[in-house]
Symmetry: C2
Subunit: 164 residues, 2 copies
DNA sequence: CGCCAATATTTTACATGTTATCCAATGCTG
DNA sequence: CAGCATTGGATAACATGTAAAATATTGGCG
């Protein structure tokens, strides 16, 4: 034995952290993605690669920075993902004629057919999630999430005590 | 110019993916964390390290597997984080007397004082987020997230078409 | 034209996520 | 108690997240 002291006063005066908003959002997202990942995995796609392909499907011919914003990926991640998707022959890249710094990314025929292959499965899963939770409530939830995001993004930054 | 073809029929018959539930959750979480990260960063903590310390604060003396569940970290990540927190002198580890496979993690005095230092700032930020969004609505949001998580976790797995 | 700040993207470096594998301690079973 | 499946935790290997720096191109300005 070593330390059987009953720990008299655990000072838990802070909200239980598993109920914090970030943790709630993290867990909710994981519980959703858990259902999608197997289907992606069967087709050799990672979650992020799939995000990129889907973004390109809804609007072909995006610049890298547009794509980054749409997929919520940071530059370095996206850069690597594009390199990989390129080497898999799923996308095409060409330099913008007017500005050689920009490159235009689009789906290749092979990329399009991969999407055609995966999409139905993905939509099925999404539909089942919607059914379980209720389309109405899902819409409510999305609205709240959007509002939260807007409030925190548009509003002034929240400063703690750390003025440098 | 080179390719002014008006791209006659972009087949966008799929819900716009930036409105998908996973993306909504991801963006909402990011918009929240964006406010916390600077404060953590000023104190040399990463988001995940902070999660571990907070979990240990609410309940000292956890096993690694308990900690993993509480912080939603996978074994390998947690293992590295504990190694780092240990080398920073913020936690203590000792082997369980009854079962030498298990180790008991707890905050060191230094870890506790670090928490005392960061917590107020963190709580200030959380309070401001609550104020902006409304405590009532925040509680609603959390309830919906919890319900979603429960439905998707407890229910049967959703199978796509991928029977091998 | 030549210098330089600004912009788009990539690269670098390190922490974490993810899956698979390894190792040591445990405890069951014969 | 010897053999072996199980378990808790750590390590390996590779992809991504994140911040900072590097690279390349453009556009302005003297």
């Amino acid at each position: 034995m070593s330390d059987p002291a009953p720990r008299p006063a655990a000072p838990v005066r802070i909200r239980h952290f598993t109920r914090s908003l970030p943790m709630s959002l993290l867990r909710a997202r994981e519980s959703v993605m858990r259902h999608f990942r197997p289907a992606l995995r069967r087709n050799g796609m990672t979650e992020q690669q799939w995000r990129v392909l889907r973004a390109l499907m809804t609007r072909p011919g995006m610049e890298v920075s547009e794509l980054a914003e749409a997929t919520f990926l940071l530059g370095p991640s996206l850069s690597r993902i594009l390199r990989d998707l390129d080497s898999l022959g799923l996308i095409t890249r060409r330099l913008d004629d007017a500005d050689q710094r920009r490159s235009i990314i689009a789906l290749s025929p092979r990329g399009e057919s991969l999407i055609e292959q995966i999409s139905p499965e993905s939509e099925t899963i999404y539909a089942e999630i919607t059914r379980r939770f209720g389309a109405q409530r899902l819409a409510e939830l999305q609205a709240m999430l959007r509002e939260l995001e807007t409030l925190l993004t548009e509003g002034p930054p929240i400063e703690g005590t750390g003025e440098e």
